[in-house]
Symmetry: C2
Subunit: 239 residues, 2 copies
């Protein structure tokens, strides 16, 4: 991996020289671009979208994109958005790998709730050494998905393709198994857990109302889910 800090002759602060080769901020931008472009599949990531994702101002994004482009991590066309280069994608996936390993570790071995682990992992991912990443991976038995059902990238940057559908779009009467839930909203995660909507749960659609409410059964329970929530739950349709 290249070292994004070599532009200066100054000594690289120890804090950022171990885990990945980047300071936390650039790592976060790469993650954001990865998410917005859906891992390279979708369109280019616009300045505004990145700014919204990271809760920074658009000018901050412009500046960082210039920098990341100079470092070869993104392809950036002024006024035309950014995509990750191969190296940018590799770096992003490494950070995502650490994030998801941490989420699973904290959840399984330290008893944190699935609504809590994202926030913790968001900090820890930037200071996790390769050594500790390896130890955690080993302790978990080289897992392939995190507590929310997101796939964990391998060390070499390969990641399982997911072909899941939003629960909201489930066809009338269809049955499905929950595969993945967005990890971004802790409140939503608590709510979903209460209703039994976790990876592995079996659901079937009862009805979808125009007001934006999806009625379904989870196991034997009958629950109602708002559209916002139902768009953040992903399922695999069962025959």
């Amino acid at each position: 991996m290249s070292d994004l800090t070599t532009t200066t002759a100054r000594e690289v602060p120890a804090r950022r020289a171990r885990g990945a080769d980047l300071a936390p901020a650039p790592q976060d931008y790469l993650k954001a671009i990865h998410r917005i472009t859906d891992g390279g599949a979708a369109a280019r990531a616009g300045t505004k979208a990145i700014a919204a994702e990271l809760k920074v101002s658009p000018p901050s994004v412009s500046a960082m994109l210039d920098r990341l482009a100079a470092e070869g991590m993104v392809d950036y066309v002024h006024y035309g958005g950014a995509t990750l280069t191969a190296e940018g994608r590799r770096t992003a996936l490494r950070v995502i790998r650490r994030h998801r390993l941490l989420e699973l570790y904290l959840s399984r071995f330290l008893g944190l709730g699935w609504d809590e682990v994202h926030e913790e992992a968001e900090e820890l991912e930037h200071v996790l050494s390769a050594r500790l990443e390896g130890a955690i991976d080993r302790a978990l038995g080289h897992p392939s998905v995190d507590p929310h059902g997101d796939p964990i990238p391998a060390v070499d940057g390969t990641i399982a393709a997911t072909d899941h559908h939003a629960l909201w779009g489930l066809e009338a009467g269809a049955r499905a198994e929950v595969r993945r839930v967005s990890d971004l909203d802790a409140e939503l995660l608590r709510h979903l857990r209460q209703m039994g909507i976790v990876p592995g749960a079996r659901v079937s659609r009862v009805s979808r109302e125009t007001g934006g409410v999806l009625r379904l059964t989870v196991g034997r329970r009958s629950v109602a889910l708002g559209r916002d929530a139902a768009e953040k739950v992903f399922v695999e349709v069962l025959p």
Copy 2:
């Protein structure tokens, strides 16, 4: 705990708003002062000593001491060194607590060697949330010493007083039990482990040579230890 970032009207970056209320750098200065003043027992911490401890330049120390003094974390007399205030000590001990809990956790549950955990903990201590600190403390069963024998401060800032003597100063023929080993030098730690010099080991002095070599027995083994090493091992003398 006070918030050292309130001097600016800007939003506090999320990265430093969770664990302790300080950015990593000020935390490190407080730790350094704590170490140099031996927890408040010894003299004042001089600029040069702090600079050496943190591997930064003396002017950087001057600047940070001014800031920490303004925040009420240290008593600082220009040209006269610094000591921790009650609040500064509390903050330092909180960081030290996290450091030592992490060292023990990484050593016990993730299989890292006692020569590796210091380096890891040095990074992680600054991003550990109170929640995770608590979870780790619980997982370890509220331990009182870290893998090197250093006492772990309690949440309320109390810390067990240690009354140990440097192994180098052990009297002729005396027997002692190893209590603590400096955690700063990974190479030394590997060396000591090889010789069986770990907390709990029984040693007795055979001879001390003018060349700076201490000969002693560890269990049944006969070993020679350089002065530099023997001054970084602390023992409790047995009757």
